[in-house]
Symmetry: C2
Subunit: 203 residues, 2 copies
């Protein structure tokens, strides 16, 4: 088993943080996304959508999509639960995970891909107006998270979950997307500092 990894890009990093939190080691094969190596034949054969990461089993079976890869490991190694324990908890983690993806990571990614000059070959066509329209969406979601994090320690409850991983990666991604964390979002900032202090943050 090995993972075709994409370095500092958000999705490969989500999987690496997830595995670090689980204490699972999987060999990584680096793929240079800066050189568009994820569009090579080697990766296209393994994921026709040309996205990373890709998990490959020894028999050649491949699995892509960040959360699908995490789901595989979660099923085999349920402890510590990063995707929920019982039915309601699993559903609640899924709810927050999807809210963070749809209303935080995606707007930040669109702001980056549609505005940053380095993304010209990646996002065709780049539509600056769409990029700009996404910046306030990300801020609005941080305001919501800030209210929620006044009531509890982590995004989906009293336990660290995959929703915290996605939100941490989204927050880091705000820097290249040139979106600033509102200074008065004190609960959100407290949560973010706690995330950065976890050993998995460097994964």
């Amino acid at each position: 088993m090995k993972i075709y990894d994409g370095g500092k890009a958000p999705n490969p990093r989500r999987v690496r943080i997830y595995l670090a939190e689980k204490g699972i080691e999987v060999p990584l094969e680096p793929v240079d996304m800066g050189a568009l190596e994820h569009k090579s034949d080697k990766i296209t054969r393994r994921n026709p959508l040309q996205r990373l990461p890709v998990l490959e089993f020894d028999d050649g079976t491949t699995l892509s999509e960040t959360v699908a890869i995490c789901r595989y490991f979660e099923e085999l190694h349920p402890e510590p639960p990063l995707m929920g324990a019982d039915a309601l908890d699993k559903a609640t983690v899924e709810m927050w995970q999807r809210r963070v993806e749809l209303h935080f990571l995606t707007p930040v990614a669109h702001a980056f891909r549609h505005i940053h000059p380095a993304m010209k070959e990646w996002e065709i066509p780049q539509i600056a107006d769409w990029g700009e329209a996404n910046k306030p969406k990300a801020i609005e979601f941080i305001r919501l998270l800030d209210e929620e994090l006044a009531k509890r320690e982590f995004i989906a409850g009293d336990r660290f979950t995959i929703a915290d991983i996605t939100a941490t990666v989204a927050t880091d991604f705000m820097k290249p997307a040139r979106i600033s964390i509102p200074e008065d979002a004190t609960n959100f900032i407290r949560w973010y500092e706690a995330m950065k202090a976890r050993p998995s943050y460097g994964a």
Copy 2:
């Protein structure tokens, strides 16, 4: 338990089809999205993101996000499996479900929301260029599905899953989004006809 339902909108329909396939009956409370009732205090209290559907338990606990609601029922009623059986199968269904969401339902939704005049109050700002940029993305994904469906009966394997539900709803949504199914996508069309023939299609 009840579901605040949103009529013909794609996400409420995904949950209704899922429940019909499972044979689970949950009382529905209609919410008139045409009259923007999903932005009312009643719904905002239950889902601050003002989206439908919302599942409400008798103790007042609420759960939103389509797939989170499905996940809850899947955990309690695993048969027939609509989200996979073993670890690899669950991960494979999750992979296809997410591919369909990201590269099919989302582009179709963006084409609709950013171009259709009826969406002016819903999508602010409407960016027609972004809507248009999404139409070829949906077609490109149908081409990929067409190749995959030459090899098997359903999207995620030899069994009907939640990925088929999402893709069926996305295909129906192409009509108001004014995107046509390519006539030569014969495997895709064969799959779509089979989906329309299932009793759950009318849910």
